[in-house]
Point group: C2
Chain length 79, copies 2
């Protein structure tokens, strides 16, 4: 079973990496770019067969390791 | 207009960061985890009103800056 986890910085947290990308895009001539935020995309291959169990495990993985809940939000999709 | 860009390593490219995450998850007791790949999630706020134009610009942004087409694939969603 395949799962995809999306980790993004919370709205109120500054994102210097995103700002650097925004500046670089504008310097390349993409003047439409108003803001950029950079997050993580984590693809996980699981041997679990049960979707409910997989969702429960993923939720724990995010809370314990994949995201920092102080500054990041996460969501995930299974299957 | 909001766009989301997903950048992932190509299948044939080794992902040491993903392997480190896999090992860490297994060490935490998540023994279902068979493989992990880490990519980037880039959220872009655009002032363009025209979806077709935005898609065209995003495609160029990915090719020129956001992804390294030698080792990475990208896809994006607009709106």
């Amino acid at each position: 079973m395949k799962a995809t986890v999306y980790v993004t910085l919370k709205e109120e947290v500054l994102d210097p990496q995103g700002d650097a990308v925004r500046r670089a895009l504008r310097a390349l001539g993409f003047e439409d770019v108003e803001g950029v935020r950079v997050g993580k995309l984590i693809e996980i291959e699981l041997s679990a067969e049960d979707t409910a169990q997989a969702r429960d495990e993923l939720s724990q993985m995010c809370a314990k390791l994949l995201a920092n809940p102080v500054i990041e939000d996460f969501r995930f999709e299974v299957g």
